[in-house]
């Protein structure tokens, strides 16, 4: 039962040259799972901490359920937070860690007991209630930290990179558990991560941040398919999108021309690119949408592109093929091939990109053209 509205939010740290968060605007709906993602130093944790009340808001307004929160201290915002290093109280047992917030709020003893035990049951940590944090594994501590946040039944949950200290397998498991918990709790969650896969798999909607600026706030699939700029396009997806700088020129028809690659721009894209004739652009194409012309006959593919294979990385289900266009060995690209095809290093092949998936970005503004 909580919406969060971030309006023109700014954060300038004292003595800093530029703002850490610039003019952020977000409207988070009730019960939404929002992920803040971006490279380190992009301000995602700062934004979360401003929502939590751990960082002062320099400018703009933060509302939870339509009420202004700027001046309220963390305890009055009815939020809970899970920290990256768990921040469990080392001198308290698991039970006391979870009960601390309730005790401070003068909750009756038997109610505390019942709430803590219920939360422990949900998280499967009932057998740990008497232990101290130092006697537990990272995964167990993580559960306790989550438990501490859910006992108070707050309106909003904030997660600050909660899984980054766990090993890969546990991370995948906890990812699913947090999602499940989200459904059970019916709560609004704001979750910070630098891992775009975590963001894609968990978020209802994702906020992509860079240098304190919100790049795009959208659903995972929209970010992937319709990135608004080159940064989002390159950040979302793994391996990331390939970019090739070049120019749009007019021959018999509009053509993309770079040092090594030249192809006629497909008909449906020509109107959009018309204003860019004679201008510099980035051609973007995802590794997923590159096909070997020898094998793929059914899709509408772009004109032939001649490439040389530099290296191959088989990961089992598929193979990442790293290549360059003939005549331009400086720029290396990746293509995701079916693992049944094997390519020798140095072999020359002919590929095409799914016409629907060709992307072009303005070189100067890096905004997406098509």
């Amino acid at each position: 039962m909580a919406t969060i509205a971030v309006k023109d939010l700014e954060k300038v740290f004292p003595g800093a040259e530029s703002a850490t968060i610039k003019n952020a605007n977000l409207n988070i709906k009730d019960k939404e799972f929002i992920v803040l993602v971006g490279p380190s130093g992009c301000g995602k944790s700062t934004l979360l901490r401003m929502i939590a009340g751990l960082e002062e808001i320099s400018d703009g307004e933060l509302q939870i359920n339509g009420e202004r929160m700027n001046e309220l201290s963390p305890k009055d915002r009815d939020i809970a937070m899970v920290f990256q290093n768990y921040a469990l109280y080392p001198h308290m047992t698991v039970f006391d860690n979870m009960a601390f917030g309730l005790k401070l709020r003068k909750t009756p003893k038997d109610e505390i007991k019942q709430k803590v035990e219920h939360a422990a049951k949900v998280l499967g940590i009932t057998h740990l209630l008497d232990r101290r944090p130092k006697d537990m594994s990272g995964g167990q501590r993580q559960r306790v930290a989550i438990g501490r946040s859910i006992v108070r039944n707050p309106k909003v949950f904030l997660f600050d990179e909660p899984l980054s200290n766990l090993d890969a397998k546990l991370r995948v498991q906890m990812r699913a558990e947090i999602k499940k918990l989200h459904r059970q709790l019916d709560a609004t969650i704001v979750y910070v991560t630098h891992d775009q896969i975590e963001a894609m798999t968990m978020g209802d909607r994702i906020v992509v941040l860079k240098d304190g600026i919100v790049q795009q706030f959208d659903t995972p699939m929209n970010l992937f398919n319709n990135p608004q700029n080159k940064f989002v396009a390159g950040f979302i997806g793994s391996p990331s999108m390939n970019f090739l700088p070049g120019k749009v020129i007019q021959k018999e028809e509009a053509t993309f021309k770079s040092k090594s690659l030249e192809f006629a721009i497909p008909k449906d894209l020509r109107p959009g690119l018309k204003p860019y004739i004679g201008k510099e652009v980035f051609f973007g194409f995802r590794p997923e949408y590159i096909y070997d012309k020898q094998f793929e006959k059914s899709k509408r593919l772009s004109e032939n592109m001649e490439i040389v294979v530099d290296s191959v990385e088989p990961i089992g289900s598929e193979t990442f093929v790293y290549f360059h266009f003939i005549g331009n060995p400086e720029h290396s690209f990746c293509f995701r091939s079916d693992s049944q095809f094997s390519y020798g290093i140095g072999s020359e092949i002919c590929i095409g990109v799914d016409i629907e998936r060709l992307r072009f970005f303005d070189k100067e503004t890096e905004k997406r053209i098509m």
Binding site: L54, S73, K75, A80, A87, H91, R148
Partner: protein, 293 residues
């Protein structure tokens, strides 16, 4: 074989490095301690050549001596008065110094200066402050409290006065220990506590105090030992007077050994003091262990 010889070589060098300090300690610390213990069983007087063995005679005499009983009482009062105040005050100062306040460096230095100033100097300053025309009476009068007593010659006020001086001189020293302990507490614990709803005061009692427990343990032990052995301030400010109102155990030891030259008797009282310190430390270790998380 090779490994074994290397281990032997390490041992050799290890003991070689230890040998010199061990020798010094043996001559100036361990031997005198043992010798004093032996002396305590003799009626050993510097002015009398005859030094008969008296067994526990000195010890029996000690506990019949009203001055010694008073010295024990004073020492215990002194310790009970000083240790908790000193520990809490230094923790509190450290907590404040650990906040982002203006002039932090100045306050840190100001609080630490008494710790590095010679105790003779601070004692003499306080002798003036506590004297009849001194600063304390002047200040009290200015505040409207009529006060005209000589704090150090009044049997009721002499001990508390010296206790206050001691708290002042050592709090800064222990503050530094606490500061180091405080800086080891992760900031995220306070943030978690804030979100859990703890105010400043609750953060101090529920997070800071338990988290610095190992430091507190160290501070309390050092402070206890310091109080049990308090000597220099007493020697300079009151000479144990008036009427032994400020005679502590170390002062008693000094008086009997070096004023009356009754080394046997003095050594016996020193042994009792050592035993008292030892027992207190053991009790603390047993009932208030330094939990490290």
């Amino acid at each position: 074989m090779k490994f074994k010889s290397r281990k032997k070589e390490q041992l050799f060098w290890g003991y070689l490095f230890l040998a010199f300090p061990l020798l010094l300690l043996s001559i100036f610390v361990f031997f005198p301690i043992g010798f004093a213990f032996v002396v305590s069983f003799y009626d050993w007087n510097l002015l009398i050549p005859d030094k008969p063995f008296v067994g526990l005679g000195n010890y029996f005499e000690l506990f019949k001596d009203p001055v010694f009983i008073k010295a024990i009482k004073n020492t215990i009062i002194y310790t009970i008065g000083v240790v908790p105040v000193q520990t809490l005050l230094s923790l509190f100062l450290a907590f404040i110094m650990n906040q982002k306040i203006r002039g932090r460096a100045f306050f840190r230095t100001a609080f630490y200066i008494p710790a590095i100033t010679s105790s003779v100097v601070t004692s003499i300053i306080f002798v003036w402050i506590y004297s009849k025309p001194g600063l304390l009476n002047y200040g009290l009068n200015a505040l409207g409290v009529d006060s005209n007593i000589d704090w150090l010659t009044n049997p009721v006020t002499v001990l508390p006065s010296i206790m206050i001086l001691n708290v002042w001189t050592t709090s800064g020293y222990f503050m530094v220990s606490f500061l180091a302990g405080l800086q080891n507490i992760p900031a995220s614990l306070y943030e978690a506590a804030k979100i859990d709803g703890a105010n400043q005061w609750q953060q101090f009692w529920k997070i800071t105090v338990p988290m610095v427990r190992p430091v507190t343990y160290f501070v309390v032990i050092m402070s206890l030992i310091g109080c049990f052995q308090v000597f220099d301030q007493i020697f300079i400010m009151s000479s144990g007077g008036p009427d032994n109102a400020s005679t502590t155990m170390s002062y008693f030891v000094y008086q009997n050994s070096f004023k009356y030259f009754r080394f046997g008797f003095g050594a016996a009282s020193a042994a009792v003091l050592a035993l008292l310190i030892f027992a207190t430390t053991l009790i603390q270790k047993k009932y208030f262990p330094p939990d490290v998380y």
